[in-house]
Symmetry: C2
Subunit: 156 residues, 2 copies
């Protein structure tokens, strides 16, 4: 499976891969914290923000939300309850299949989500260290990685 036999790729992981994984862990932690903070600043929880973000693409059945977020449907019930209680989403029966509930962001819900997305300083702070060429390079590398691993969850 390895491209280059130059290194003993038989070992669990080579040094560079290992370091990249560690760096990503740091990145993940950083991103996560920022996201949570940005959500909290709008008195949303991370999970609520994620659901709202999903709904930017249009109404969606509960089941689909649960799948995308890889959690149990019963969990989504509560999250949507709270969002609904605050007027950020609505829940309507799908006319096609009345078992299905279609969750849709309200105007204020959509606005909150858009605002949050805009506010992610993450984009400015650490990414500012790179110039255009490097950002493009990074983009291409990330694309390849995600492409290769059934990407999902467009949460920001």
């Amino acid at each position: 499976m390895e491209t280059k036999p130059t290194q003993e790729a038989t070992a669990p992981t080579d040094a560079i891969t290992r370091e990249v994984v560690d760096l990503m862990a740091g990145l993940v932690a950083l991103f996560h914290r920022e996201y949570e903070e940005a959500a909290a600043a709008r008195s949303l929880t991370g999970a609520q923000a994620k659901v709202l973000a999903l709904l930017r693409r249009g109404p969606m059945p509960m089941r689909h939300i649960a799948q995308t977020l890889s959690c149990e449907p019963s969990n989504i019930t509560g999250i949507v309850d709270r969002l609904e209680g605050r007027g950020f989403v609505t829940r309507e029966a799908d006319p096609q299949d009345r078992r299905v509930k279609l969750v849709a962001a309200t105007d204020s819900g959509g606005a909150a989500s858009e605002e949050l997305r805009e506010s992610l300083n993450f984009a400015r702070e650490p990414l500012a260290a790179l110039d255009d060429r490097e950002r493009t390079q990074l983009r291409d590398l990330l694309r390849r990685i995600l492409e290769h691993a059934g990407e999902d969850d467009p949460r920001a």
Copy 2:
């Protein structure tokens, strides 16, 4: 602050930065899921795994754990309670300052953490899409980003 005036860097965020942020969100989600799963496979929660990972570097006061994980110290109490209950860590008063409790991983705790780290397929699957040169490139870019943003939390 921008290096290249070629693009109007005055706007909130340029297209590439925006895309990079979205890609990172995907990466973060992916990594997060994998980490949680890998932990669950050893019947640890994500939070417990993170604490164990921190302790790989040696014993550490509760307070320090809380700071590194950016949460309230009272939260750590519970997590360490559960880890201690399962024999993964010990809690001892620091002889230097008896207010301080030093948390240390036991042998089995350290082993579990090491095992978990090894098992992160994340390294193999999506990263396998890149060759050595690209992995190095990615490493360098990530280093720069994290350097620039008070890095922390070496959790994996």
